[in-house]
C-alpha cells in the first residue's frame, strides 16, 4: 500500500478541520491529528521565532514520514510545520495520519512527532514580553529519549 504524503513548510497558519477533511476517503476509518501550539510560558513570552533550514526541513520530514508509512499501514500522512514569528496560542505544527483502523494512525502520529522534534531542522528562539530577544530554546533529553524508544537508530 502506498501512502499519500503531504509535507508543507510555511509561514502561514493552517486550517486543522480542512486538513482532516482532505484525508477522508472510502477506505479511511481513522484520522488522528496532533497540533503543536505556542505556549506563553506563564505570561513571559510575546512570541517564538522559528528558524529552519530550507530544503532540508522538507526532505527530513519526508524521510520520517516515509519511515512511518513503511512501519504502519497508513493511507495518508500530512505534516505542516510553520516558521517565522508565532504568538502564544497560535499553531506551530500539524500532523495528520489516516488509516483504516485507529492503532496505525495513533502510532504513526506519535512516531512522527518524536522524530520531528529531534531530527527536523527547526530552532526556536524566545521573544519576551518586555521586548527582550531571549534565548534559544534548549533541546531536551526527554525528547531524545522519546525518539529512542522506537528503535530506529
Amino acid at each position: 500500500m502506498t501512502a499519500t504524503l503531504d509535507i508543507r513548510i510555511q509561514a502561514a497558519d493552517f486550517d486543522i478541520a480542512a486538513e482532516v477533511d482532505r484525508l477522508r476517503g472510502a477506505g479511511t476509518g481513522a484520522i488522528v491529528t496532533f497540533s503543536g501550539i505556542c505556549r506563553d510560558e506563564d505570561g513571559r513570552l510575546a512570541a517564538l521565532e522559528l528558524e529552519h533550514y530550507p530544503g532540508m526541513a522538507e526532505a527530513e520530514i519526508a524521510r520520517i514520514a516515509e519511515d512511518a508509512a513503511a512501519r504502519w499501514p497508513v493511507t495518508a500522512i500530512t505534516v505542516i510545520h510553520r516558521h517565522g514569528r508565532i504568538a502564544p496560542g497560535e499553531n506551530i505544527v500539524l500532523v495528520v495520519t489516516a488509516s483504516s483502523h485507529r492503532q496505525a494512525a495513533f502510532a504513526a502520529a506519535d512516531f512522527l512527532m518524536d522524530f520531528l522534534k529531534t531530527r527536523a531542522p527547526f530552532w526556536k528562539k524566545e521573544h519576551e514580553r518586555d521586548g527582550k530577544s531571549g534565548d534559544w530554546v534548549a533541546a531536551t533529553d526527554t525528547d531524545d529519549e522519546a525518539a529512542t524508544r522506537w528503535g530506529r537508530e
Binding site: Y53, G55, M56, L116, F122, A138, A139
Partner: protein, 83 residues
C-alpha cells in the same frame, strides 16, 4: 564548499553562510570542524562544545566521521527544537 550556519551557531559566527576551501588533510566533517575552530575567536566560541554541534552534508544528517569529498554544502547547527 559552502558552509551554512543556523540558530546560535549562526549568531556566534556572525555569518549565515560562506564559501571555504579547506586545506589538504581535512577529509571528514569532524576534521573540518576542528579546522574551523582555529579560524578565529567567533568560530571557537560557536564550536567550542563539539557535542552540541549537529552536522548535515548536502541536507542529510551526518556524523563527524563522514567523509566530505564531493560534498557541496555542509551545515552546522545546534540540537533541533522544532515541533
Amino acid at each position: 564548499m559552502k558552509l551554512v550556519y543556523f540558530a546560535w551557531v549562526r549568531e556566534r559566527i556572525g555569518l549565515t553562510e560562506e564559501e571555504i576551501d579547506p586545506p589538504g588533510g581535512v577529509s571528514t566533517a569532524g576534521d573540518l570542524l576542528d579546522w574551523l575552530r582555529g579560524r578565529g575567536p567567533e568560530y571557537e566560541h560557536a564550536l567550542a562544545e563539539p557535542r552540541a554541534i549537529r552536522i548535515a552534508l548536502d541536507k542529510v544528517h551526518a556524523s563527524r566521521t563522514a567523509p566530505i569529498a564531493g560534498v557541496r554544502e555542509m551545515a552546522l547547527f545546534p540540537p533541533m527544537t522544532g515541533g
